[in-house]
């Protein structure tokens, strides 16, 4: 980094000024001193840069070479990552689309104060890699010129094939995303959407997986985890075989891959181990956790990444206990992580959403109920539970605690009880009504610094498929605040109306009785289109 030509060191300036003028340096002269700021120690520059959000950091890489090096340093990326709050990646949820675009939604309440006439563009925007760029290009060869750019006729974008090009996002762990095959669940790629880097996971080495599929039902469960002790990422793959006639798990093969290595290693499991239907993979404290659903029974499955073994884990007794024996089949429990704490959210009864946190990792007694949310949410009516009604933690309780609720197709509620109360906002601009929300902490940590070994090539979407535009990518998403009319429409499209609570713009609530009017759900206004439950993870954590 070069100083501009006429900059001078401070002591010389002071002396010169004092000698020349013989008086105390005043406002004007201190302006002359600022040129020497170019000489600030790099650790101070780093301190300033650490305070910037990702978008600004990326702009700052352009400032000069020294800054680019500073920002690209693994240590800097790690420090910055530790300070970054949880954000949400939003992806359109539509089976007709490849949906490789991720929109970052930063959960800052000031951002949600938009006004109903304003639309704030949703940024930043990241792209996932394409599964098979070669074949995509081949299919589109008539709309690309010899440079691979879209010719005039292809200006609208390339045709894509969702069933072949689309990835399922399994989970986000420590700044990376794990992507899998949509139909089989086979984990394929791990990527950092911010830097654009990705690596392809090694192909399955075991032929046992190719079973006689007509006889046996099998399912693949996968998740990405991080072990901070050794700074390793690991991907776990469970092949669960179901009995011919029963719905119970008959046997399971577990394999694990340390990111950067080229083999899947077999994991020893207890032959008696039975794996239920798993959801919400969450990595906390060097272990992966899932909520297991076995009929009406719920439990937490835990896999320790260090010992590479399954172990038992205490579940919140009150939450699971209440549902375990109920005949009311519609439970809606999600699990997530925030700042190293495990959270469970029970939004079965949407008028009374509760959130639990495990204060002391591993200690079953430390499951503590954080709060109930029962006001604004019920005023918007009961959301369609197959797609919505989920809760996400976005701010740790020590920092004031905040929650994000995904209520109906594109309606979100941000709730920070201490400072802001409720803020409702919507996402516009997409022809697809539904969104998939993935809690994610954007990170500049390069994959090259975390993978072990040189066997695996780190690729980058910027060198390949970022420049191609798919047809579906001609839209931009934006945020807006719903006005009263919109709120009314949301209420009407919900299944039931509870006691209507009026919300004025500053979150004040006055209640008016609903005089027994329970409007039935109008099926044409009903927002539950075909749901592909179980394929997508709606993370909502509180």
């Amino acid at each position: 980094m070069k100083r501009k030509k006429h900059s001078i060191s401070p002591t010389r300036v002071t002396q010169r000024c004092n000698k020349a003028k013989g008086k105390v340096v005043d406002e004007e002269e201190s302006h002359q001193l600022c040129p020497y700021f170019a000489n600030i120690p790099s650790h101070i520059t780093a301190q300033i840069l650490l305070q910037l959000p990702i978008k600004s950091l990326i702009i700052c890489r352009c400032v000069c070479k020294m800054w680019k090096t500073l920002i690209s340093e693994p240590h800097f990326a790690k420090l910055h990552f530790e300070k970054t709050p949880v954000s949400l990646m939003i992806r359109t949820n539509d089976h007709r689309r490849v949906s490789r675009t991720l929109y970052l939604l930063e959960c800052e309440p000031e951002k949600f104060e938009i006004g109903s006439d304003n639309h704030v563009k949703l940024q930043p925007i990241f792209k996932l890699p394409l599964r098979d760029a070669k074949s995509l290009l081949h299919c589109n060869r008539f709309v690309l010129d010899k440079n691979g750019e879209s010719s005039n006729s292809g200006r609208q974008g390339l045709y894509s094939k969702p069933d072949l090009d689309k990835f399922n996002i399994v989970n986000s762990c420590n700044g990376l995303l794990c992507l899998s095959d949509l139909s089989t669940g086979n984990p394929l790629v791990v990527c950092n959407p911010v830097t654009g880097e990705f690596i392809r996971l090694p192909k399955a080495t075991i032929t046992r997986f190719r079973l006689n599929t007509t006889q046996v039902r099998k399912k693949l469960q996968t998740a990405l985890g991080f072990l901070s002790k050794t700074n390793e990422y690991k991907v776990i793959k469970m092949l669960i075989r179901y009995g011919f006639r029963s719905n119970d798990c008959e046997s399971v093969i577990v394999e694990i891959n340390t990111l950067g290595t080229s083999l899947w290693r077999n994991v020893e499991v207890d032959s008696q181990l039975s794996i239920p239907r798993l959801k919400y993979p969450t990595c906390v404290n060097g272990a992966l956790h899932w909520i297991g659903f076995e009929g009406q029974q719920m439990s937490i499955l835990c896999f320790c990444l260090e010992s590479e073994r399954f172990q038992s884990f205490p579940s919140p007794p009150h939450v699971f206990g209440n549902h375990n024996n109920s005949t009311y089949g519609n439970t809606n429990i999600t699990m997530g992580e925030l700042k190293g704490f495990l959270y469970i959210c029970d939004s079965t009864c949407f008028s009374d959403v509760t959130m639990w946190v495990m204060n002391e990792y591993g200690n079953g007694d430390s499951w503590t109920k954080l709060y109930n949310i029962d006001t604004l949410v019920s005023s918007l009516g009961r959301p369609n539970l197959s797609h919505c009604g989920l809760c996400l933690p976005v701010k740790h309780f020590e920092e004031g605690a905040a929650v994000l609720l995904y209520h109906s197709c594109n309606c979100f509620i941000y709730y920070e009880p201490d400072k802001y109360g409720f803020k409702v906002f919507q996402i516009h601009g997409s022809r697809s009504d539904f969104f998939e929300i993935i809690p994610h902490i954007p990170s500049l940590i390069s994959l090259k610094d975390v993978i072990k070994g040189d066997n695996i090539e780190v690729q980058n979407i910027h060198s390949r498929c970022a420049k191609f535009k798919l047809r579906e990518e001609n839209e931009t998403l934006s945020l807006s605040q719903p006005n009263d009319e919109d709120l009314e429409r949301i209420r009407r499209s919900s299944s039931f109306d509870f006691e209507i609570i009026n919300i004025s713009s500053d979150g004040d609530m006055s209640s008016s009785s609903s005089d027994g009017d329970i409007s039935s759900s109008s099926s044409d206004g009903d927002i539950s289109s075909s749901s592909s439950d179980g394929v997508f993870f709606y993370g909502l954590i509180i």
């Binding site: 401070p10 002591t11 600022c34 305070q51 978008k55 352009c62 400032v63 680019k68």
Partner: protein, 154 residues
């Protein structure tokens, strides 16, 4: 500038001398917040006047007031009063005097002022010359096109 009167009758007073010769009389516990000064005191116990050669009187006064008053509300209002030049000099002062709280506050303030601004603006603020080649810069801008959209006007 003004001399501070000691509040507690029994607390020891210390004199700090800024680079432009201005003197400040401060209580020992205030001075100790500046770790550089603390180190000085540890080295020579009976010292009465400590020279602060890198900091102007104007800025030393601001630093001392910060130490006395600091709390969350004060911090929030504090950074709004100063222009960029003062902020930068205060940051260097805080770094030299080793006052971590003030340093953090100022870093946040400066970061806020360069947030979402163009590289040209940031270069002007920090007085940095662009040593990227045009091709390099073009490549960086192209790779993360979205980051350069919606940037605040300078």
């Amino acid at each position: 500038m003004a001399e501070e009167k000691s509040q507690a009758s029994s607390s020891k007073m210390l004199t700090l001398k800024a680079s432009d010769g201005v003197l400040f009389e401060v209580e020992l516990n205030i001075a100790k917040e500046m770790k550089t000064v603390q180190a000085y005191i540890d080295d020579c116990e009976d010292i009465e006047t400590i020279p602060i050669p890198n900091v102007l009187g104007k800025h030393l006064a601001i630093v001392i007031e910060y130490i006395k008053k600091t709390n969350e509300e004060y911090d929030a209002e504090f950074e709004k009063q100063w222009n960029m030049d003062d902020l930068q000099l205060l940051l260097l002062a805080a770094n030299y005097l080793n006052i971590s709280g003030l340093q953090e506050c100022l870093c946040k303030a400066i970061a806020k002022r360069i947030e979402n601004k163009s590289p040209e603006y940031v270069r002007k603020v920090f007085n940095i010359e662009n040593d990227h080649s045009p091709e390099e810069e073009a490549k960086l801008r192209k790779e993360y096109k979205w980051a350069f959209e919606g940037v605040d006007k300078d």
